[in-house]
């Protein structure tokens, strides 16, 4: 490991981080246009063509707004809470593989920030740290709405973490590794000659549980009780203003992107094009870097699909009540997750055991 390697690592990390951050303005536009489409109204259409510059205008407005610190808040926790959400959200990006590798300056450059052997564990553990930001933000605001939002949020996030971990355990059992890159390699090629060899065909129930639990973990509708604006004003970020308020949304959208990336990686073949192996593609294209570009493009398309599903669900399904939320998490998803593990284990034993 010399200075060139270190430079490559630094540039790679910065580029991928910026790529995940620019998801935020794009998603703001997609979300507002999607809402407009579903509610049959034009949506943002004044700033730039199709309102494309609306997120830029929003960001500028946030920057030039006053940043008041209310009188009774716990100043330290109030100030760091938004960044306590942003930090874990950024760190989780590290584990998502967006492609195999490209060749620059005669070196193999991994298209992933860090090839971690504990990838899935890293995502689960660091991802769940975000709840501290919400809890501190809500509690330090010394506002009843914020406190209620924070309490609901912590109860919700910890309740849905168990189904998430069980679904993840199921994926780990199937692939036999925690390494997300190895999981993607295992999903290459075709199944029965006509299906892409994706994880979802092997563990559909696991995918369903993972999908639902991710909605709760990212605080998206129908599970957005922490900030349910009709009952709690703004939930845990009622007292926040200026860019600190925007940081909550940045973190939410980065979380959304990593959640979509995780689903793509675990269940939808990651960077692989369906029906064709990478070796065959390399033969056709003749260049490693072209293949890498194609892989990143494939991954981006799959990730965008899930992002649009998140928006679509948000504007289609109404919010759950709190007791309904707890019932779904504990009485439906948790037993289903256990059942899923037991059934998968028995089927694996029948197929492969001796």
């Amino acid at each position: 490991m010399d200075w060139l390697d270190l430079t490559i690592i630094f540039v790679r990390t910065a580029v991928i981080y910026v790529a995940f951050i620019q998801v935020v303005p794009i998603m703001i536009w997609v979300e507002r246009k999607g809402a407009a489409l579903i509610q049959d109204r034009p949506g943002p259409n004044r700033v730039g063509p199709f309102g494309l510059l609306q997120p830029v205008a929003d960001a500028l407005k946030f920057l030039f707004k006053e940043d008041p610190i209310p009188k009774e808040v716990n100043k330290f926790l109030y100030a760091i809470a938004p960044f306590l959400i942003l930090l874990p959200a950024s760190l989780v990006v590290c584990a998502i593989p967006i492609g195999d590798y490209a060749v620059f300056f005669g070196r193999d450059v991994l298209l992933q920030v860090a090839d971690l052997d504990v990838g899935l564990l890293f995502v689960l553990s660091i991802g769940s740290l975000g709840v501290y930001g919400i809890l501190f933000g809500g509690w330090a605001s010394s506002n009843k709405f914020s406190l209620l939002g924070a309490m609901r949020s912590s109860a919700q996030v910890i309740s849905y973490e168990i189904p998430l971990a069980l679904a993840a355990a199921n994926a780990v059992m199937f692939y036999g590794t925690f390494n997300l890159r190895q999981m993607v390699f295992a999903q290459e090629g075709t199944l029965f000659g006509f299906l892409p060899n994706w994880g979802i065909w092997y563990q559909p129930l696991g995918f369903l549980i993972f999908f639902i639990a991710l909605f709760a973990e990212t605080n998206r509708l129908p599970f957005d009780l922490p900030e349910s604006e009709a009952e709690l004003v703004g939930g845990y970020h009622t007292e926040y203003g200026s860019m600190k308020f925007a940081v909550f949304f940045m973190a939410e959208y980065i979380n959304l992107a990593t959640a979509s990336g995780l689903m793509t990686t675990l269940y939808f073949g990651g960077w692989h094009l369906p029906w064709i192996t990478d070796a065959r593609l390399l033969e056709l294209l003749g260049s490693r870097n072209l293949l890498a570009l194609l892989q990143v493009a494939t991954f981006t398309v799959k990730l965008s699909f899930f992002m649009i599903v998140f928006v679509w669900v948000r504007w289609t399904i109404p919010r759950f009540r709190f007791d309904q939320l707890m019932r779904v998490g504990w009485k439906n998803l948790l037993p289903l997750g256990l059942l899923n593990i037991i059934v998968t284990a028995i089927v694996l034993y029948l197929v492969e055991g001796r």
Binding site: T13, A14, M151, A155, I158, L166, L338
Partner: protein, 123 residues
Amino acid sequence: MEAFIPVVIMFVLALLLSGAIYFITSVLGPRVRGRIKLSPYECGVYEPAAQTSTKLPFQFRFYLIAVIFLLFDVEGAFFLPWALIYRESLAVDGTLLVGMLVFSFFVVLGLVYVFRNKYLNVD
């Protein structure tokens, strides 16, 4: 440990971004302060006497949920290392399957106990 170098770089980048955002917002933007603006928002009520403290004790249900979460999360954590080696172990024999089934039985037993005592009914 070498694989974690990029994670450290990412952490530093995220810290820099947070610092930049914090600094920029505190520099830009007007500063017009007032008693009413700095009071906690509560549906138009701004007299201090009308507001009660928010440092109330948590509802007991939330504590119970936290304890139950802790129990089941630890049990979920036991599943992960087992899942990692399960498929490899099948080439030898099915001992791990039996062990897991016994363990799951006790997890389900705990779940049934929690449900029957209605510890998770929040309403």
